[in-house]
């Protein structure tokens, strides 16, 4: 077992065993209908399942919306989120379920209702949550990979900005010590443990799935292992906080749900800052770069975040986690994604091979950051 959170270490062992499995065939609607009926047979007696439809977007889970009607006629829409055999991420449905439960009433989240973490009914681990109204991008934006280069526009930008900051501050100031999160482990041994666990987790994924031995990735791995900064106050890190990962009401600009918690962990929140400031998740219009299409550069974000959260951002740690995030991004798109596509272990191979083309952007940033040295 590698030195990381015990739940994640066990997950990494289990994924190795799946490597030799046959190609994954995406689930058809009628098969999902049968699985849902079996799942609910002894959970909601007399329930009727209807209106099953696949949900697009995202590159990690198979998702289906459906209506569950109880015998007294009450109908609710839900989302089934199920793991493919392999994906662009390696995450746990138990952890996602627990964290969504923990954040109910703190920030808007989809309410998690049921799960099948050991795939007793569904072919792969799955969870079910309430469907939340809203969109991830304005209707004026054409088909695109969700969250990459999404332009909110002036009106929505102004409405969303304070909510975005408020949510991020609440995530980082969350009292995880008193929360019910049995699948999470607290990094309390030493100030480097949280980030050491994080690096070990991603390095194991890199080693398991490596497709090409890019020399700059090796140098980045060595830099990350040799320069782990102290984390004096571990916080809840969302792990994928950016535009594209929240739903909003296009009319009012109200954020209705913060999504995609699957990569969250307890650690150094600088990882979230570096992630949301990344150019790949931002926009550049008329020469103006906006991180998450909201913040006009680092200073705009840092000032606003510090004011709202009361937390301070350390430029040296931001630099370290920028290296980490480009390294992680490369592993996601060009290692895990490409491996899943090559093994035909995913339902969206064509998206994975498309996303892998962002790999050189991450390599360019790694070469640039490692060349420039740490900020003084």
């Amino acid at each position: 077992m590698i030195d990381t959170e015990p739940h994640l270490a066990a997950m990494l062992v289990a994924r190795k065993a799946r490597r030799g499995e046959s190609p994954y065939i995406p689930q058809e609607d009628h098969a999902i209908q049968g699985l849902l009926e079996t799942f609910f047979a002894d959970r909601v007696e007399g329930a009727r399942i209807s209106g099953i439809s696949r949900i697009g977007g995202g590159a990690s889970k198979e998702q289906f919306a459906f209506t569950l009607t109880t015998p007294d006629g009450e109908a609710m829409r839900y989302v089934l989120r199920m793991d493919p055999l392999e994906a662009i991420t390696e995450t746990s449905r138990e952890r996602e379920f627990e964290i969504l439960k923990a954040f109910e009433g703190i920030v808007p989240v989809p309410r998690p209702v049921w799960m099948d973490p050991d795939a007793k009914v569904f072919p792969r681990p799955a969870m079910i949550m309430e469907l939340v109204r809203g969109t991830t991008k304005p209707s004026t934006v054409g088909l695109s990979v969700t969250g990459l280069g999404t332009v909110l526009g002036d009106r929505l930008r102004k409405l969303i900005r304070p909510q975005y900051l408020d949510m991020l501050a609440k995530v980082h100031n969350f009292d995880w010590k008193n929360a019910d999160l049995p699948s999470f482990a607290a990094p309390t041994d030493d100030p480097k443990q949280a980030t050491r666990w994080l690096i070990n987790f991603w390095k194991e994924l890199l080693d398991q799935d490596i497709v090409a031995h890019e020399p700059v990735v090796r140098l980045a791995t060595q830099y990350l292992q040799d320069n782990i900064p102290d984390c004096e106050k571990p916080a809840l890190v969302h792990g994928d906080f950016r535009t594209g990962n929240y739903l909003f009401d296009e009319e009012t600009g109200e954020i209705t749900a913060l999504l995609d918690w699957e990569m969250c962990y307890i650690g150094d929140p600088h990882a979230d800052f570096a992630w949301l400031l990344a150019p790949v998740f931002g926009t550049k219009i008329d020469g103006v770069f906006r991180a998450s299409d909201i913040f006009e550069g680092d200073d705009d974000f840092i000032q606003a975040y510090e004011d709202v959260s009361g937390n301070r951002i350390d430029p040296k740690k931001l630099h370290y986690f920028r290296v980490f995030n480009y390294w992680k991004s490369y592993i996601l798109v060009s290692v895990l994604g490409m491996r899943a596509a090559k093994e035909q272990h995913n339902h969206q191979d064509v998206l994975l091979t498309f996303l892998a083309a962002t790999g050189p952007m991450h390599l360019a940033e790694l070469a640039n950051l490692l060349s420039m040295g740490e900020p003084q």
Partner: protein, 165 residues
């Protein structure tokens, strides 16, 4: 030879764009997104098709040159020099192989050397090799970003290419 590969790809794009896509219901969001991606892949493959062999050869040549430069800078103990010997041998045995195979083998042997260096490489060698690897990695990343610029993810490289045109 008729039909050519570009002719076949172009006809597939037309079928997907004008027949398959309009036939998909609006609510089939995943299927629509997948068809868009397939069309995009085919269009970009079509645009890259003629240049692909040259691009792959250039990549193999760049990594071969990097490996030679790294070998000329390598100094250290047994682990480092053994990895260097393996890399030198890889350069010899892969010459003449298909470009993608050359690149993969050289990258792997170079990676072994980068792993050995912290063990017993000299400080000077580590520093010089790191600088060289970063220089070439930046160059290769620039070429790869240009190669994949049609994917539309990378406004920065698109801007540079536009300014150069």
């Amino acid at each position: 030879m008729t039909p050519s590969v570009p002719d076949r790809l172009a006809s597939a794009v037309r079928a997907l764009t004008y027949v398959v896509m309009p036939a998909l219901p609006k609510e089939a969001s995943l299927a629509r997104e997948q068809v868009e991606l397939v069309i995009g892949h085919l269009q970009i493959t079509l645009a890259q098709y003629a240049q692909t062999p040259a691009f792959e050869n250039q990549e193999a040549d760049d990594f071969r040159e990097l490996a030679k430069a790294v070998l000329s800078l390598t100094q250290g103990g047994d682990a480092t020099m053994s990895a260097a010997s393996d890399l030198r041998q890889t350069l010899d045995t892969t010459a003449g192989l298909p470009a993608l195979e050359q690149t993969a083998a050289i990258q792997r042997a170079l990676d072994d050397l980068l792993v050995a260096l912290p063990e017993d490489g000299t400080r000077e060698a580590k520093s010089a090799i790191t600088a060289k690897v970063l220089e070439v990695s930046a160059h290769r990343a620039d070429l790869d970003r240009r190669w994949f610029s049609l994917m539309g993810f990378d406004p920065a490289i698109a801007e540079i290419m536009q300014a150069e045109a």
